[in-house]
């Protein structure tokens, strides 16, 4: 019974990791690629680790698998945020299906104050 559950989890997890890989290749711009790689990848890795926990059903392995899942869940979004933000600041070109960009308006609105604060820090 445990083996069947573990098998289903492994196949689903493997499928989502595959989706993440195909997504990185196929999706049109970097921010959308981040969507595929971090999230589908996280879910896939989580499911595979869960399958390991089910298959071995030992306290040491379960606790390590759960801890790994917890740390993936904590670190993956931070990395995604950092890469996405860096890419945005680098001035990437969005694909043609992008219909709004509120962040651009915000940066333009606050550019004056930002420049001011940068100057102050340079003088320091």
């Amino acid at each position: 019974m445990l083996e069947i559950i573990a098998g289903i989890l492994l196949i689903t997890g493997g499928f989502f990791v595959l989706v993440a890989a195909v997504g990185i290749l196929r999706l049109p711009d970097i921010l959308m690629r981040m969507h595929a790689s971090t999230k589908a990848g996280t879910l896939g890795a989580g499911l595979i680790l869960l399958a390991v926990a089910f298959l071995y059903a030992e306290i040491g392995i379960i606790s390590r698998a759960l801890a790994t899942i917890a740390f993936i869940l904590m670190t993956a979004p931070v990395a995604a945020h950092a890469i996405g933000r860096a890419a945005y600041h680098h001035g990437i070109t969005f694909w043609k299906g992008t219909i709004v960009d509120d962040l651009k308006d915000y940066y333009e609105k606050t550019r004056q104050t930002r420049r001011g604060s940068e100057k102050v820090s340079e003088e320091d």
Binding site: F15, F16, V19, V22, G23, R26, L27, P28, D29, L31, M32, M34, H35, A36, T38, K39, A40, T42, L43, I59, I62, S63, L73, M74, A76, P77, V78, A80, H81, G84, R85, Y88, F94, W95, G97, T98, I99, V100, D101, D102, L103, K104, Y106, T110
Partner: protein, 158 residues
């Protein structure tokens, strides 16, 4: 937070008293001490710990549901020939104020496929996210985040 430690310490005492130090027994201890805290909680704790535990569990289940549903949605779009989605950067007005709440919200947004948090405004009143599916309008994205995740987070932290 203090009361949460109290819960764990009571569970450890339970495992010590019963003499079997296993994970299952520790879980039983957690449930029993939670029951104790429901009874004596109002006398020693003003933060509503017993209520917030359930809200935290609800938040976690809600998050798992979102993670799975949107992963499936992204998977379908990745596999399907041609792209039919519309993406964009959307600003979301924030009702949450503390560091913990904003971090939690931004991380959960980043973890659900289809949305990625990019920036918090300097006055901490707006969160800018990149969304993959805004075919139903920008307001629909805003509402689903505000009514879903943000509401759940506020129920846990307040």
């Amino acid at each position: 937070m203090k009361i949460f430690l109290f819960n764990i310490i009571l569970a450890l005492i339970w495992t010590a008293v019963t003499g079997t130090f296993s994970f299952g027994n520790f879980l039983i201890g957690l449930v029993l001490s939670y029951a104790v805290l429901i009874v004596v909680g109002p006398a020693i704790d003003k933060s509503g710990y017993t209520r917030r535990v359930w809200k935290a569990v609800t938040l976690f289940l809600f998050f798992l549901k979102e993670l799975f549903l949107s992963s499936v949605r992204v998977a379908i779009d990745v596999m399907r020939p041609g792209f039919r989605m519309q993406s964009g950067v959307v600003d979301i007005p924030l009702d949450v104020t503390s560091d913990l709440e904003i971090t939690l919200l931004a991380n959960m947004i980043s973890l659900t496929p289809g949305t990625l948090s990019l920036e918090v405004s300097d006055d901490r009143k707006e969160l800018f996210i990149h969304a993959m599916y805004i075919d139903e309008g920008v307001d629909h994205v805003r509402n689903s985040i505000k009514q879903g995740m943000e509401k759940h987070i506020m129920e846990v932290t307040r």
